[in-house]
Each structure stands twice: as C-alpha cells, then as structure tokens.
C-alpha cells in the first residue's frame, strides 16, 4: 500500500492508574511525520518519550486522542484496527537502543523473519533481506551470526530488519546510544537514506547530542506534552 500521509497524532493522551494515584504520562501530544522524513523526539527522563513510543508502536493503548497511519485511522479514542500484532508486523518498524537481534538466527534470517511472519515465501523473504543488507553495506555478513558482528554492523542489521516489510513508519528508540560519534552519525545517515529510498516516516527518540543537530524538525516532549521546533538539519556528508 502506498502511504501518502506518514503518521499523524492529534491530542494523544495516556493515563496510568486511576483516582488519586492516576498519572498522566501523555497529555496533549500532537505530531505529524511525512513519508520520507526523519524527525527527532527529545525530552528528559520521565517526560513520556517511551510511553509515546509504545503508543505509536501499538504496544500500549492510549487513553484518548487520534492516531492515523497513512490513510488509516488506527486509533480514535479506541483502537480501530483489531489485529495490532499484524499492524506492528506489517506497518511499523522498530529499532531499539541495543540491536536485539535474535542470537540463534543468522543475519539473513534475522531480517527475513519479518517477511516470513507476514506470509512471504522463504526464498522471497531471504532475497528481500539480502537486498536490504546490501543497501546497508552488510551484505557480506549475511551468513554470520549476530555475535560475530561489530556494534555498528549489528545496528545496521537491526535497521534492515525494521525495514524488511517496508513499513510506512519506523520508530527508533535511542538507536545511537551505544555508538561513538562517527558510527552514530553513520546510523543517522542510513536512516535518512532509508527514509528517502523507502518513503518511510522515521521518529528517532534520542538524548544523543551528536545527532540532534542533524534533524530538520524536532519534537520536544516535556511533562507529557510535545513542542515542535525547527532543527538545524546539518548536512551528514
């Protein structure tokens, strides 16, 4: 499906608990990310970044607001899609702080697993994986085990996995945290390239001062609310 609108959030809220002990982790979150765009989501600890990421990833249910993915409203004061597992599998890519590759699968199968879970034939899934690995410059490590890769290679494989089903949205949770400046910038460059190439809307949650200047748009989150600001959009080349 060709997505034209990326992801859009209006007035999203999330409350934990009830009564006197209720905590509003998200109060009025608004955000729009266009296809092919990479935005930063920045905020101090406890500001609600992870909660927002979990809501966006359909892992936890928001308490209110509206969320659209491409042309589809997926949440409007309640889930509008029954199969959230399939939604996560087919339309949302995840990159974590650590690569979290499956240690007992080789590099190709780590990437091919998602298309296979989506019902693609093994051969086609592996071909897709190989293409992505080549695009991310780790094609030569296709048969290696995750434990045999460097940190940077592992993160690139994780990006390939996130892109395996060509999702319209990718959520990256501090993807450069364990990397040095050079590798961190390399990862951001890859994310930008992938966003452009596959028209994926990418939200990068980060604390990393090294990469913040690379974003054209940044959402700050504080006390459960988001504030948009223009980024420096520093060139990565």
């Amino acid at each position: 499906m060709k997505e034209t609108l990326g992801i859009s959030i209006e007035g999203l809220s999330k409350r934990y608990g009830s009564g006197d002990t209720a905590v509003d982790a998200l109060k009025d979150v608004n955000m729009t990310v266009a296809p092919g765009e990479v935005v930063g989501l920045i905020g101090p600890s406890g500001s609600g970044k992870s909660t927002l990421l979990k809501c966006l990833g359909a892992v936890i249910e928001p308490s209110g607001g509206r969320m659209t993915l491409g042309d589809d409203t997926i949440y409007d004061h309640g889930w509008k899609i029954r199969d959230l597992r399939a939604l996560r599998r087919d339309r949302i890519g995840f990159i974590f702080q650590a690569p979290y590759l499956i240690p007992f699968l080789d590099v190709t199968d780590n990437v091919a697993l998602l298309p296979m879970l989506a019902g693609r034939a093994n051969g086609a899934a592996r071909q897709r994986a190989q293409e992505l690995l080549e695009a991310l410059d780790v094609g030569h490590r296709a048969r290696a085990q995750p434990s045999e890769l460097s940190g940077g290679e592992q993160q690139r494989v994780a990006i390939a996995r996130a892109l395996a089903n060509q999702p319209p949205v990718m959520l990256a949770d501090e993807p450069t945290a364990p990397l040095d400046s050079q590798r961190a910038l390399a990862v951001v460059r890859i994310l930008n390239d992938m966003a452009r190439q596959y028209q994926t809307a990418i939200i990068v949650v980060t604390h990393d001062e090294k990469i913040i200047p690379t974003f054209r748009r940044i959402y700050h989150i504080r006390d459960g609310r988001t504030y948009e600001e223009a980024g420096e959009g520093r060139a990565l080349d």
Partner: protein, 402 residues
C-alpha cells in the same frame, strides 16, 4: 517459515544434547525398570511353558509349588494316571538353596539356584539343552541353567552329595530369577527332606529310648519307625499332561473333587505367578516408574523454563515485531519434545546396551518402548506449559526501554 526451535537448538546444541543425554540416562533407568518387570513375568511364563505340564497338582488349599510350599506323597501320581483325561503324570520337587561349585584350583563358589527334582522323560524335565546331554544315570548327574555359570563337566555339591553337570539349558529360572539345576527325583527328595547324620543319630537314639517303640512282643517296631524317619516319600507337585482334546479345567475339577488335592491349570498358575508371587515387586517397580516419571517431568520443566527465561528479551522482540503467540509456544513445545526425543533415543539405547549386564532377565518389549515414547512426549509437552505460560506473559513493551 524458519524453525525457530531448530535454530535455537543448533545455536547451543552442545548444552541441549548434554541435557538430552542426562535425561536419556534417566529414561534408560525407567525403561529398564519396566524391562525388569516384564522379565519377571516372562520368567514365570517360561517356567510354566518349559515344564511341559497342563496341570500342577499340589497339596490341598495351597498355591504350590512355586508360590507356597506343598507336600504330596510320591505315589499320588499313580492314582492320577488312573483319572479320566490324564495322559501323563510325574512327580517333581522344587527347593531353592545355595549350590556349591568346586573350582579347579580347589576354591568354592556358591550359586543360588532352584533345585528341581524330576523324572527323566516325564513332564518337568528341562525343555531343551544348549550344551551337553540329558541325565541318563539315576543319581548324581545334573542339568543346569546357563545363568548358573556352570559348565558341562563341573562338579557341584547339593547338600551332602556331589553331582556332575552333564548338560546346560536356557531360560529355566524361578519366579525369583534364580537359575534352575535339575537333578534326578530320588536325589532331590533326599536333598530336600533328608536330615544330616548327626540329626539321624539323635533321632534314632530318641526313638530307641521311647518305650512306646520298644514294647515287648512287638519286634521290629523301632526299626520300622527309624526307617520311616530316614527315608522320604514326599514330593512338592505332580505335573500332569492331559490327553489331546481334553479340557485341563475339567480334568482339574475331577482331581479336586475326587482326590482332595489342588489342581492348577496353566492360566491359574500364570495368575498365581504374576498377580500374587510378583505382585509386590510389580508395585515396587510401578512406584519407581511413577517417581522417575515425576523426576523426568520436573527436570524437563526446569530445563525448558530456564532456557525460556534466558530468552525473555528475544521473546519480547519477537512479540513486538508481530510473532504470533502460537509460534512462540510452538518453539518452546518443539524444544521440549526435542529434548524428550533425544532422551528417548539415548534411554532406549542405554537400556538395550546394559540389559544383558543385569543379573535378572530384562525384557525390553517394543510395545513398552512405544508406550514409553508416548509417555515421555506427553510429559515433555506438559512440562513445557510452565515455560510457555512464562513466555506468553512477556510484554512486548519490554523490548522498548523506559
């Protein structure tokens, strides 16, 4: 679709196979226990089959000659031969004792054996020989089961007399697993019932000193009493073969009615041997089997649970990226079943290899192996539920920090 279970096993196959080996040895013990029980039953059936009898006639109200002691006069068989339907009848004695073998170097070895007294050519003689010949002399020759360890030509001592082993037979053991030694009936009667010389002298003195046996005008009374004390006219059972076409049960009923003796058919003897004689041993083995099954289940559950806990983060990632719960449950179940499969193969191989080393007959039946395999798979499947439960409770959100 990739086999997640297979890949995970291959990733750490050494640990997995070693665990399967350990489980396999436990399963081997379990299969051997079942084999020991089957061996006991089979020994009992072989004992009955090899005796060549259709009926065992024993003392009234007893389950003899194997399960209880029984004593009959040795001329009872003549009366039985006159009964309708009886083709052949022969006396037999059975008693368990330590048979002493004199080694070439002069050393002595004791072997526990069931000594059988029989009449050559009649029911009760060993069914077939694997070495040597049958007993041809009236005294002091023996045929031994090969499990005694005796060889043809060996000299063995039974009570006060020495015997030469002239033949060897196979699968002739008591229900207790003791190998049999066959000797002529007369010798067996003496060995079983005759007292030692000191006891005979003592008994003779007591008889002579008893005025009741030395009454004037009754010459020879004391001698007659002494003669009856030093000779034996008893056997433990009469083995009967019925005529072709006759019902053993019908003949047995006639014997019970008219001779005031007990007569057991083959089926009744099997019931006595299996249900009564080895019942306690069977229960003991059943208890072991239950304990071993519980221990095996606990081991599999613990191993699979630990393996699963070690993969919680991967499971969270798998769930987050859209893996179905049933795929994750299937992965854990397949690993548990794989462990069971390795365990069964190792266990069956081990049980087969060490079965001949057991002192008692271990019968590993294919049916038991099949049932054991099904039980192991079931135990593994049940044991994996704990780990599956833990895996299904993993929140995909755990893959995301915060």
């Amino acid at each position: 679709m990739i086999s997640l279970a297979g890949r995970d096993i291959l990733h750490a196959w050494g640990k997995y196979v070693l665990t399967g080996l350990g489980l396999g040895l436990l399963i081997g013990v379990t299969l051997s226990m079942a084999g020991i029980y089957r061996g006991m039953v089979d020994d009992g059936k072989a004992l009955l089959a090899n005796s060549g009898a259709d009926l065992w006639v024993v003392q009234q109200d007893t389950l003899g000659p194997y399960a209880e002691s029984s004593s009959l006069h040795d001329d009872v068989y003549r009366a039985l031969l006159g009964m309708p339907g009886v083709a052949r009848a022969a006396n037999a004695t059975y008693f368990t004792m330590q048979v002493r073998k004199t080694d070439e170097g002069g050393g002595e070895t004791d072997v526990r054996a069931m000594v059988v007294g029989f009449e050559p050519g009649q029911p009760g003689e060993p069914g077939y020989l694997v070495a040597g010949r049958r007993i041809t002399r009236g005294h002091y020759e023996a045929v031994a089961d090969i499990k005694t360890g005796f060889k043809v030509g060996d000299n063995i001592r039974i009570r006060r007399d020495d015997y030469t082993v002239v033949g060897l037979t196979r699968r002739m053991v008591s229900s207790g697993g003791d190998p049999m030694v066959f000797i002529p009936l007369k010798d067996a009667q003496e060995a079983q019932f005759l007292k030692d010389n000191d006891a005979i002298l003592n008994e003779r003195a007591r008889t002579n000193a008893n005025p009741a046996f030395n009454r004037p005008g009754v010459p020879g009374l004391a001698e007659a009493v002494e003669a009856s004390q030093t000779s034996n006219r008893h056997v433990n059972a009469v083995l009967v073969q019925v005529k072709a076409g006759e019902s053993p049960e019908a003949v047995a009923q006639e014997i019970r009615r008219w001779k005031h003796l007990e007569a057991h058919t083959v089926e009744q003897m099997e019931e006595i041997l299996v249900a009564k004689l080895i019942a306690t041993s069977a229960k003991q083995i059943a208890m072991f089997l239950v304990i071993l099954a519980v221990v095996s289940a606990a081991i599999v559950a613990f191993i699979i649970y630990t393996m699963t806990l070690g993969k919680i983060r991967e499971i969270a990632v798998l769930k987050l990226i859209g893996t179905r719960n049933r795929t994750i449950a299937g992965m854990i179940l397949q690993q548990a079943l794989g462990l069971g499969l390795i365990g069964f193969v190792v266990g069956k191989t081990a049980a087969t290899l060490w079965a001949p080393v057991f002192p008692k007959y271990v019968l590993l039946e294919p049916g038991d192996a099949a049932r054991g395999f099904a039980a192991i798979m079931l135990i593994c499947a049940i044991a994996s539920t704990l780990a599956i439960r833990a895996a299904l409770k993993v929140d995909p959100a755990e893959a995301i920090g915060g």
